[in-house]
């Protein structure tokens, strides 16, 4: 399977309306060929609608979808060069793993011997060769994911669309299959578009994260850029690990692990007084929740992450008055 050079995906003013509500509001997005892109956002933000429009399972109300040099906006799902991996995999329960993988070939009238052979080859490729004759119900969640992947690959798509593929798995398996997805993407070399509501998942997998909210794109960036320079208050809050503060008439975000806690209240421009409200031990770090005094904070919950060693050298206690400060370089201005 050649990584297609024709797999750059571009959305132009793509819109989805349901009656009077706009689920996806004229979004523009360019997903480079061969990259791993995560659409991230809370439920109802329009990420799944966007994916389903790319897949052809939902009609676009407005706008265009380009794949390589082709406009695929109105093509039927099977002719787009995309393949979809469904939330709970949607494997056909009455067919064996092999028949599931061969399904689309059967629909195209490929002879039985040939389609079963090609399905078997793909199953071998995802290390499922020995499970070809099992029904989906006889496979574990991780094995089902591999069969679903093989089924998606058999049409030789140039873009693989994944709709919350890990949400059906238990937490341990989720992390394992997440690593597997990334490995496959690197190995196959074509574009993956992955919808998720987990920022952790997006950060672990993506080359490019698209944060969506209310049908609009809030920010498109690499995970590193996203975490270190969130563009908006929404992104800073949704990504977590940030404190959003109103400071000198500006809204700023500071990473929780870049905040400093001092025992001696004093006066400094980049500091504020607070009281320790809760302490949570998290293993490698300790999360200290603070209640701030005055009207300096934009949010009422303020938290500081301290290294385990640093905290236990001089533990804080609930009720202690402290001063929180940060370096100017760590403060990041938000646009909204």
């Amino acid at each position: 399977m050649q990584p297609s050079r024709q797999s750059e995906l571009e959305l132009i003013k793509l819109t989805k309306r349901y009656g009077n509500t706009t689920a996806v509001d004229a979004i523009d997005l360019r997903i480079p060929s061969g990259s791993y892109c995560c659409l991230l956002g809370p439920s109802g933000c329009g990420k799944t609608s966007t994916l389903r429009m790319i897949a052809g399972h939902e009609d676009a109300s407005d706008g265009d979808i380009l794949l390589g040099s082709r406009n695929i906006t109105v093509l039927p799902a099977a002719e787009r060069g995309t393949a979809m991996m469904f939330q709970s995999y949607a494997l056909f329960p009455h067919l064996t793993a092999q028949e599931n993988v061969a399904f689309s070939l059967k629909m195209r009238g490929v002879a039985k011997a040939e389609r079963l052979k090609r399905a078997q080859d793909l199953l071998e490729r995802v290390a499922m060769g020995g499970y070809a004759q099992r029904k989906p119900a006889e496979l574990s969640g991780g094995q089902q994911q591999r069969v679903a992947l093989a089924r998606a690959l058999i049409t030789e798509p140039s873009v693989l669309l994944l709709d919350e593929p890990l949400s059906a798995l238990d937490p341990f398996l989720r992390i394992r299959m997440r690593a597997e997805l990334k490995r496959w993407q690197l190995e196959l070399g074509f574009t993956f578009v992955h919808v998720t509501h987990s920022q952790e998942e997006a950060m672990a997998l993506a080359d490019q994260v698209v944060v969506m909210n209310n049908g609009r794109i809030e920010q498109v960036a690499t995970p590193h850029a996203l975490f270190n320079a969130p563009a908006t208050e929404f992104v800073a809050r949704f990504m977590g690990g940030h404190n959003v503060l109103k400071h000198n008439d500006q809204t700023i975000a500071v990473r929780s692990d870049r905040m400093q806690l001092l025992r001696t209240p004093g006066r400094s421009s980049d500091a504020l007084n607070a009281t320790v409200q809760a302490i949570e031990y998290q293993g490698s770090y300790v999360l200290v929740s603070l209640g701030a005094e005055g009207d300096l904070t934009a949010s009422d919950d303020l938290s500081v992450m301290l290294q385990e060693a640093e905290f236990f050298n001089a533990p804080f206690e609930v009720g202690t008055a402290v001063q929180v400060s940060w370096r100017a370089a760590d403060a990041h201005r938000l646009s909204a």
């Binding site: 897949a55 056909f92 399904f103 689309s104 049409t155």
Partner: protein, 303 residues
Amino acid sequence: MSATTSTARPVSAARRTGPAAWLQAAPLGLVFLLFFIVPLVLILAVSFWDASEYELIPAFTPKNYIAIFDGCSNASDLCVTLKTYYSTLKFCFLAWIFTLVIGFTVAYFLAFHVKTVGMQTVLFLLCTIPFWTSNVIRMISWVPLLGRNGLINDMLIGLRLVSQPQEWLLFSSFSVVLAFVHLFTIFMIVPIFNSMMRIDRALLEAALDAGATPWQTLWNVIVPLSRTGIIIGSIFVITIVMGDFVTIGVMGGQQIASVGKIIQVQTSYLQFPLAAANAVILLAVVLMIIWALTRMVDIRKEL
């Protein structure tokens, strides 16, 4: 660990087989025994009895069974029993195929084309409304429609499509099959609809994604996944039609033979041993059909 499992296992086993479990199963068990097992055993016993013109004689004789198959060894001319079974099986097959096609279509429409659950419920209830009247009334209501001077014939003659009233419309094989389909399609709709409602809608999108046409999706995804409903519905229709004598009597103008009809006639002449023997044979035939059907699906897994 091993100690807990070794003690835990006998407890759960005792819970399943102990006196409490038997007591819980007893009421339904008694009902079954009294209204199902006992009558069945009685019929089996009576089928071996002897009878004269005016009395039943307890005995153990195979002569009723011999009488039923009297002359059946003649291959060129079918005996009455085999002819009757052939006719009954033919009705059964026709009723089955029509109720299946119509029932599947209606269930498919309800399950996949009616979008809201509220509308599904309304339409589903609509299907059951005919059951508010009795079977016999629903059969007889065909008479003014199909009769020699009925609406259909009047219309056909009025439109000059035919010159004489069509005799085959009523009291014929046609009207019998029509009545069967009318009465029993609902027994197909309900289980098939139930199976279809359990099909994950994502599977249909997966089929679409794989390039399946609507017909291919129907044949490769929906039909196999509705199989349980199809088989349960088939069992309903086949068992009812195989034993039917009322519909065949009313709609066939008392002119068409069926196995059920034979049994009914024999009981009305108080030939109970002969009727019982016929009933046992019918039961065996129906059980074989059901056995063959259940070979195709594990019902216990689906209920």
